[in-house]
Amino acid sequence: MERIMSELSTSLGKINLQSPILNASGTFGTEYFNFFQQGILGAYVTKTITLKPKIGNPPPRLYETEAGLLNAIGLQNPGLKSFLNNDLFDLREYLKIPLIVSFSGATQEEFIRMLEGLELHCGIYGYEINISCPNVENEGIAFGTNPDIVFNLVEKLARLTDRELIVKLSPNVTDIALIAQAAEAGGATSISLINTLYGMAINWETGKSRLSIPVCGYSGIGIKPVALALTYQTARAVKIPVIAMGGIHSWQDALEFFYAGASAIAIGTANFSNPLTIPEVYQGLLNFLTQRNLNLKDIIGKVN
């Protein structure tokens, strides 16, 4: 077991993970631990929280396309206060793996206030700064598209914490490597990508948008080649570790992302089509590496 653990262990900027598999924010909850053991997961990433409660977008919020999933959740969440008083308490109690809190703000000040609030609580190993959600107007994506704004924001946040500081990037930009470099320069200790692509679907019989907001977030199988390309571009542009996600459904998919330069990967939409994706990816990677007598670190970034 010792040996097994080390084959799949990996590092983010400041923390080591026993497993290179994380959950993608917003697609996972402790409910899934009814299906497999916690230890399979390297760390637990919360759904993105905001300072104030957010009601989210009206329904319908979901639509499955031919090759993926559209969502228009709009970051519905009970807000920081409720998180600190309810969820954090439960999670800290329950989790045996590192907890990473994903959060987002409408302004730089909001991000700062949230980080300050979270810093006062123990049991948090790191943050995922969501500057990339396409489903909200003020929050999120505006920040994620401008390198200067990203640099300024991350620099302020980095000064306030010694914890892992992951910046989650949007794929809907001209040059993701530039944004990643800005985050790195600002003090991010790792980068995660990709959040959802812009997507849309229309009911051809009625002409109605399938979801309550026309342009929403696209995830799943169909975005895998895009996610892989952006992971490759980003991993080559920065020195900090990259956590990659976007359409990963199998251990073979996961291998592609490691080869492209990811130090860890995350499973999102695949949790829905197969709630056992995470343990299956874990077992598949383990078999692959064992058979070849390799450690994960031997293949990270080794695409040729």
């Binding site: 917003g26 299906f35 979901l62 499955e64 959740i73 519905q76 799943g220 949790n271």
Partner: protein, 245 residues
């Protein structure tokens, strides 16, 4: 809640486009209450990256659980193509359950695929209750055993929508409680007619996770957007903001 891969015990075609699938599992059978549902899908390659489909518990007999499913799109078509012994993937039971009344006069109203959860509920309500069960559908192929049937095209039972006589009925009889499930427009109409009688509706929504984590299946309520899969599928009708639906 558990995840399992189970063989189909029995699969039957019912009328033109419903199927009844029965599986056998002691854990599942003992955990289900009326209103609960499962996420299920056919274990075949073309489905491997598709979502699970929420299906209510229709009947439980000893270790057997039955589902009554209308075939409407890819997921249900794949289920309909299963044969005895083929595998299906399933997790649950999910969601909350109908509160079980006693010594009450109860009106049950279902439309279309809203039938299965009410049929199961009826079996679990004890004999201290007095139940009237109305069910409606588009045509005779959508009608199932109940006290009074309605079809839009008049091909079976009363012609018209299932809610059409309820206002009159309530003038004549009083009910302690209403249970309903069906298309949202039917529920909306019903909610208006029967208020303020306690009214529990089982809601439907497009789902991804089915376990409450994705917030994709919400409906508008006076407590904000609540998840059908987790906070529901059973809601008190008066909580729902029908106008926004």
């Amino acid at each position: 809640m558990q995840y399992k891969i189970l063989p189909v015990e029995k699969i039957e075609k019912i009328r033109t486009n419903y199927i009844q699938i029965t599986i056998k599992d002691e854990d599942f059978a003992s955990q289900c209450n009326p209103g609960n549902f499962f996420q299920i899908k056919a274990d075949i390659t073309s489905q491997c990256r598709r979502l699970f489909k929420p299906i209510s518990v229709y009947n439980i007999e000893e270790d057997s659980i039955s589902f009554l499913i209308k075939v409407i799109g890819g997921g249900t078509r794949a289920l309909a193509a299963l044969k005895t012994g083929d595998k299906l993937k399933i997790y649950g039971p999910l969601g909350n359950a109908f509160p079980l009344r006693q010594d009450s006069k109860i009106l049950m109203v279902s439309g279309g695929t809203g039938y299965p959860p009410l049929a199961f509920l009826k079996k679990r309500l004890d004999s201290s209750n007095n139940i009237l069960f109305l069910h409606g559908g588009a045509s005779k192929d959508d009608v199932f055993p109940c006290d009074c049937s309605y079809t839009i095209d008049g091909s079976f039972g009363n012609k018209g929508i299932v809610t059409k006589d309820i206002a009159d009925l309530l003038k004549k009889e009083s009910f302690d409680c209403i249970y309903s499930c069906g298309p949202v427009n039917m529920l909306k109409t019903l909610a208006q007619i029967v208020a303020p009688i306690p009214h529990y509706v089982s809601m439907e929504a497009y789902m991804a996770c089915g376990v409450g984590v994705c917030y994709g299946c919400v409906i508008p309520t006076n407590e904000g957007y609540l998840r059908v899969c987790y906070d529901g599928p059973i809601f008190e009708a008066e909580k729902i903001l029908w106008k926004e639906l």
